[in-house]
Each structure stands twice: as structure tokens, then as C-alpha cells.
Symmetry: C2
Subunit: 261 residues, 2 copies
């Protein structure tokens, strides 16, 4: 009796482990973490920018990384920065920054304050490393489990669709119109409840083809993509055939004559 | 003519530099950064907890640090963790965790996935370092510029009041009733606009004395503190006298008979 129970428990455990051990679940965790880290890193950047701007208000860093690196290297005494070193640290625009430093109205932080600001900059760079790590994991894993979808669209957008859907199976069973609106749940709710305009796209608004399209075309393009993604999802989830080349060719053809689309 | 202009510019610059070079401004930056980093670190912790919980769902980490350290040390293969090592990494409760590991239904992450999860854990620990650094800077600087206020209340709450007020001078000029409601602007606005209940405290709800008070007493205690903080602020901003011992004694006396307060 005890042995039988034990065996049943083991089976149950194994199936539970399997359910979550799949790469599918990991991709969903990874994309959520990626988006969180990206957001959070921007918040830290904004705080750092505001704080350090007291000491170098003229500086308009080209990226969070150049601000962080500048602060770490020269933040205790910016006048120390030679133009060669500057070029190494912030790259392009170094000459302009060099002359800004000479003219700057900003003072220098005290020792203790500087070490605090510097630790914020180091935090920023660590988060950037985390972000890169998740990104590179995501690229491999999303492409492995969604070879068809990621042939059509960016792997991060594909992962977002998957995370919203909840599983590959769910994504594959969705009608194209639902895929088109994944991520637009709030706007859809508002539309139904308050009669605001219906949303035309959710996560798919991030597609470069949608971003760059004329306003009137955006909805149409999102729909075309949703159609093909929906077919690709079925292949990724069930048949495991690679059919994305054909889908891509169809898409490219349709994109050329969007007015008839 | 040019020289005169130059001289005037120099004076203007120097005054601008002075305005922002003060420790006051740094304290405001530091507390805003502290609160941001704290929030952000919690978000990363929550993501990490959710992700790693697939592999060790039974684990209830006592703190973000113990989760991060556990993941870094044993996350690739938790069965490897001996009880001595576990004790070093997570301290109390290690024996319980040790037996949980043996019984766990969770599997182990793949190599690539693990290295991603681990980098999240490392990000968490870096942010913790940033947080500590800001905290220790804040302790020194807030106590230097607000010796009276920080004698009455926690230096972080004092810094928050200062940041909300915008400057020592503004804080010192505020009536006690405004100090009491600093940080409750939204609730105050709702009260005025929609007739909801008026707020009784803003940032001061964080005072342990308010937290632990009975509901009916909270507003009263916040008011007593606001009164003394307001007096202390005037001393910190203008007279620079240290009068906080007397204020503290008054407060302690008043706290003992809150019903008559």
C-alpha cells in the first residue's frame, strides 16, 4: 500500500517537474525579467542623471552607459579628464564634452557624496550586464522553442506574446484577432465598458513595420502579422515543421501592396 | 566692457554653483535615490523569486539576500548544498531548508538558464550594496544639516520631509500642520475635490510611534511630532542652535499622556 502511494507520488512529482522544467516556462520568466530589469535600469539612470547634473549640468550623455562610465572615471573631478581618456570612456562626442568641462558652471561633489553617486553608476552598469545576459539567453531559447514565429518577428516580441498567452499551446490555439490584441487588454476593456475606440494592436505595436507605418496602415499591418504569427504558432506548438520561409514571403508580398491588404 | 561682462558671468556662475553645491541638495538627491533603489531592488527580488520558485517551490527565503545568495551558491544543483555550507549562506533556518531540498519536487535549471538566473541574483546583491552606500551617506549628511530634526526622528524620514519641502528654508517656514501632511498631497487633493476624509499624516506615518499607535491616536501623535519637527527645522535652518534635547523631552512627556494631548 505504502509503496503504491509512493509510486503515485513520484509520478505526480515527475509530471509537475516536467511541466515547469520546459524551456517554454523559462522563456516566459526571462522576458518578464528582461522587461523589468530594463525599466528598473532606466529609473536608476534617471536618478543618477538628475543627481550628477548638479555637478555637470551641461553634459547630455548619449546613453546611460556613457553617463555611468563618465561618473565612475571622472565624476570626482571632471577637469582631470584628458581628451584621449574621454574618448575611451564615452566615445563619440568626446571633444565636445571636453570643452564643456572647461566651461562648466558645475562644482565637484565631496568625497562621501561622490562615492555614493559612483555606487549608483556601478549599480547601473551591473544591471546592464544582467540585461545583456537575459537578452542573450532569450535569443537562444526563444528561437529554439519558436523557430517559426522568431523567423517572422523579433525574438523578444515573440517571447512577450508567449508570456501574455501563458503557454505555446494557448498561443497556438488563439485566433489571429486575439494575437493581434495580446497586450491591449486594458484598452479593450475600456472599449467594451466605456465605448472608447477599439485597440488595433497590443504588443505588436513594437514591430518596426508597425512603428514606421503611416497611422492609417498600422492596424492593417498588425493584422497581417497576427495572421501569419498565428499560423507559425501552430507549427511551433504542434507540427514542429519549419514553414516560416513561405509565411515570410507571403508577408513581404502583402506588405508591398498594403492598400489592397 | 568685455572684462566687466566676464566678471558678472563669473559671479553668476559662482552663485549657481553654491546654490547646488550644498549638502542640502545632496541629501534630497540621496533620499530620492535611496527610495528608488529600494523599490527597484524589491522588484528584481520578486522576479527572481518567481523564476527560481520553479526549481525550488518549497523554499521561503527569509530575505532577498538569502534568496540571492542561495541561488548564487547552490542554484545550479541544490542537492549539492551541505548543511554547513547552507548555514553559512542563509544562516537561520538552514536545517529546515536542508531537509526541504531532499524532498523538493523542483528540478534543476539548464546551464544557460541558470547563468541567467544567477546574474539576476548578482544584480540584486549589487543593488543592495548601492542601497547600503546611499544609506550610510544619508545618515551622516542628514544628521549634519538637520541635527535637531534627526535627534527627534529617523534620519531617512527627516530627509524625506526635506525633499518634499524642497529646501531647509522652505521646511523651516512651514506651519506644523503642513509638515504633518507633507507627502499626503494626493489624499489632501482628493479631500478638497471629492470630499473624502482628510488625511491625518503624510510621510510621518512611517514613524514607529505612529505605526504602533492605536488607530484613533495616530493623527494626534503625528501632530505632536509635526509641532516639534517644525520648531527643530527653524533651529536647523536659521539659529543653528541645538535645542532638540528639550524638544525630545517635551515629546516624551506628551507621548505619555496622549489622551490629553
Amino acid at each position: 500500500m505504502f509503496e503504491k502511494r509512493q509510486r503515485l507520488m513520484d509520478v505526480a512529482r515527475a509530471s509537475l517537474s516536467n511541466k515547469y522544467a520546459g524551456e517554454e516556462h523559462a522563456v516566459m520568466q526571462a522576458i518578464s525579467s528582461y522587461l523589468e530589469v530594463e525599466k528598473v535600469r532606466n529609473q536608476i539612470f534617471e536618478r543618477l542623471e538628475e543627481w550628477y547634473s548638479i555637478y555637470f549640468p551641461e553634459f547630455r550623455p548619449a546613453s546611460p552607459t556613457s553617463l555611468a562610465r563618465f561618473v565612475i572615471e571622472f565624476g570626482s573631478d571632471k577637469k582631470r579628464a584628458g581628451s584621449d581618456e574621454l574618448r575611451k570612456v564615452i566615445g563619440e562626442g568626446a571633444d565636445k564634452v571636453h570643452s564643456m568641462i572647461k566651461e562648466s558652471i558645475g562644482g565637484e561633489p565631496g568625497v562621501e557624496e561622490y562615492s555614493t553617486i559612483k555606487s549608483m553608476a556601478e549599480g547601473e552598469l551591473s544591471l546592464l550586464e544582467v540585461e545583456k545576459k537575459i537578452d542573450s539567453y532569450l535569443e537562444g531559447s526563444a528561437k529554439r522553442i519558436m523557430p517559426n514565429i522568431t523567423y517572422l518577428i523579433d525574438y523578444k516580441i515573440a517571447a512577450e506574446l508567449l508570456a501574455k498567452a501563458g503557454s505555446m499551446q494557448k498561443l497556438a490555439m488563439m485566433p489571429a484577432s486575439t494575437v493581434q490584441l495580446l497586450g491591449a487588454e486594458k484598452a479593450l476593456f475600456k472599449h467594451i465598458k466605456f465605448g472608447t475606440k477599439p485597440p488595433k494592436y497590443g504588443i505588436l505595436y513594437k514591430l518596426p513595420q508597425v512603428v514606421s507605418a503611416q497611422k492609417k496602415q498600422k492596424g492593417k499591418i498588425a493584422r497581417m502579422y497576427a495572421n501569419k504569427i498565428s499560423i507559425a504558432a501552430k507549427a511551433d506548438a504542434f507540427s514542429k515543421n519549419f514553414i516560416a520561409e513561405r509565411l515570410k514571403a507571403d508577408l513581404d508580398r502583402a506588405m508591398k501592396k498594403p492598400k489592397k491588404g
